[in-house]
């Protein structure tokens, strides 16, 4: 007994994809490599120490006092060398003087002013100053606020967009070029089965892609999903659906791979830039923001970040999810109307 055409078509599409090593690389390995590279480039590290110099007869004694400040990197220098290094900016501040310390620095440089405060503080404490009030410090570096926490949902969104659109668009245009679409509609196959199979096969790959990236980001960078995993999974499916719909529309009439590639880029490049993949779209002018928020990738990224980093539920992400669903439904419906089978 043959299996239903929808199952056969989906299975065929999955096989076809898995037998294309390049496609598998771009979908699975590339996002991981990108995450790894960017994660290391922007990893959290303690602030740099400010280099300062000490010269003169008390250099040794003062150097010991100054070295107690965690913000300073102290070098003992002779007078001529010290002047030279200060002038060329190799040190931000020079401590010298015969009896009392003299702090030489350029007050227009922020790091020099910080060095002045730190140096003065260190010398005073060493000389026996006691603090009148004791302020407690609290450092902000929680999970969910690091750059990698911002980056991973953005990359996930970008990946869902890229694979969704390419996965659907490429295979359809390819089949159209080979006249396979024409051959298929010469059978009693339902057209909707073919398009749905494209969509279902996307969802199958998407499950793999997302799991891969999320487990990887969790293992390597301790990025975790703070919200409900079910909400997160459904959100990814909605994202996949929206971009499959857009991919279907872009590919609905294109006759060549070149044509569809151009159109794909036309659609995707603005979103790579505007939709807050690598940096927040808050940097764009206010007038542009409503348009940026209406883009499907912006909506997906916003919703993913809300669920992953803020633990948001459906109520909190209703607006971006609405935008995504609207894009998916409108594009799917339009694509079905204008789709060219031969």
């Amino acid at each position: 007994m043959p299996r239903p055409p929808l199952v056969e078509l989906t299975h065929a599409r999955v096989r076809e994809f898995l037998r294309e090593p390049e496609a598998v690389f771009w979908v699975f390995a590339f996002p991981l490599l990108l995450t790894l590279a960017l994660g290391f480039a922007f990893r959290s590290k303690p602030p740099d120490r400010i280099p300062i110099g000490v010269a003169g007869p008390h250099a040794k004694e003062w150097s010991a006092s100054l070295s107690k400040s965690p913000a300073l990197l102290v070098r003992v220098l002779d007078a001529a060398e010290a002047k030279d290094q200060l002038r060329t900016g190799k040190i931000s501040l020079l401590v010298e003087g015969d009896t009392q310390p003299v702090l030489r620095f350029d007050p227009t440089r922020p790091d020099a002013r910080t060095a002045r405060v730190e140096a003065d503080d260190a010398l005073q404490r060493a000389a026996g100053r006691r603090d009148v009030i004791a302020a407690r410090e609290e450092h902000v570096s929680e999970q969910g606020s690091r750059y990698i926490d911002f980056l991973v949902p953005g990359l996930l969104g970008m990946n869902l967009m890229g694979t969704g659109m390419w996965g659907v668009g490429f295979s359809i245009v390819n089949a159209r070029m080979k006249k396979l679409l024409k051959r298929l509609i010469a059978t009693p196959m339902r057209k909707s089965d073919y398009l749905l199979a494209q969509f279902f096969s996307r969802l199958i790959f998407l499950t793999g892609e997302v799991t891969f990236l999320i487990v990887f980001a969790w293992l390597v960078f301790h990025v975790s999903v703070h919200g409900s995993l079910i909400t997160f999974a459904i959100l990814c499916l909605i994202g996949g659906f929206a971009f499959s719909g857009i991919g279907l529309l872009v590919a609905s009439r294109a006759a060549t791979i070149e044509a569809v590639s151009g159109m794909m880029n036309l659609v995707m490049v603005p979103m790579w830039i505007c939709s807050g993949v690598f940096f927040s779209y808050e940097r764009f002018p206010d007038a542009a923001k409503p348009f940026i928020r209406a883009l499907p990738l912006t909506a997906l990224n916003d919703a993913l970040r809300a669920v992953m980093n803020d633990g948001a539920g459906w109520m909190a992400i209703a607006a971006p999810v609405g935008v995504l669903v609207a894009w998916g439904v409108v594009c799917f419906a339009l694509a079905l109307r204008v789709f060219k089978w031969q």
Partner: protein, 308 residues
Amino acid sequence: MSEPVIHCRDLRKYYPDVKAVDGLDLLINRGECFGLLGPNGAGKTTTIEILEGLIPADGGDVQVLGMHWNGRARELRERIGISLQETQFTDKLTVIETLTLFRSFYRAGHDPEELLHTLSLEEKRNARVGKLSGGQKQRLAVACALVGQPDILFLDEPTTGLDPQSRLQLWEVVTKFRAGGGTVMLTTHYMDEAERLCDRIAIVDHGKVIALGTPAELIAKLDASNIIEFTSTPAIPAEAFADLCDGYHGCAKRGDGWQLRVDSLAEAVPKLIAVVEKNGSKLLTLSTHAATLEDLFVAMTGRELRDA
């Protein structure tokens, strides 16, 4: 045997620059193998694709298995099998996967494994489609056309570009399908294919049927059983051999030389040589053969079937 399974009247399809099909009538009976023979661009593919319901006609009436395409498409698709002129199946799927996929589209049909046997593709069962030879790909295309157990098999140029052995294999498949009571409609620009496979042939040119009948009937239309082709230098005019002999039925220009239609070679050839000599010309080439459909086409249109 005489029940029509394909019937079209006054079929028309006009494109901005060409009248692809220009008032074409066909009546194809159950169990028949019917061939559309004609040069490239004659309108064969357009005609067969209109009959297959793949492109709409601009005018005329089409009935397949007593139904119109309008509204009955799904039902008709269940009962016809199609091999397009140049379909490429997905390279990454295997032969059996492709066939199983196509089988799933039909309510009833053949077991894909059985079809592999019928089409001598068993050895290639698990081979990727991308690795098949031209002949194997074409047999797979025909297998996909047969998998729904159709009443009518449409083949558009099924053996174009194939080696002789692959052509023979494909012809065998068509013969087997007919033995099971199937109707076949095919297009070709190979006259030997048309003569060998088809019960009846329509010769098509510029979107019209210019001759219709069994291969024997069509060849009989030439009124001559033999063909002489010759070239000479300098070339001689047609008037020179206008009353060559009793069994002379006319001529057509062919390249630099002439093609003459005659009853008896024994009578005509010596006389032709004499005529050439009398005109002070020298014979360069001379060949003769029994008349074929190709010659009929040349006689009717002045062009060759496989014209460049």
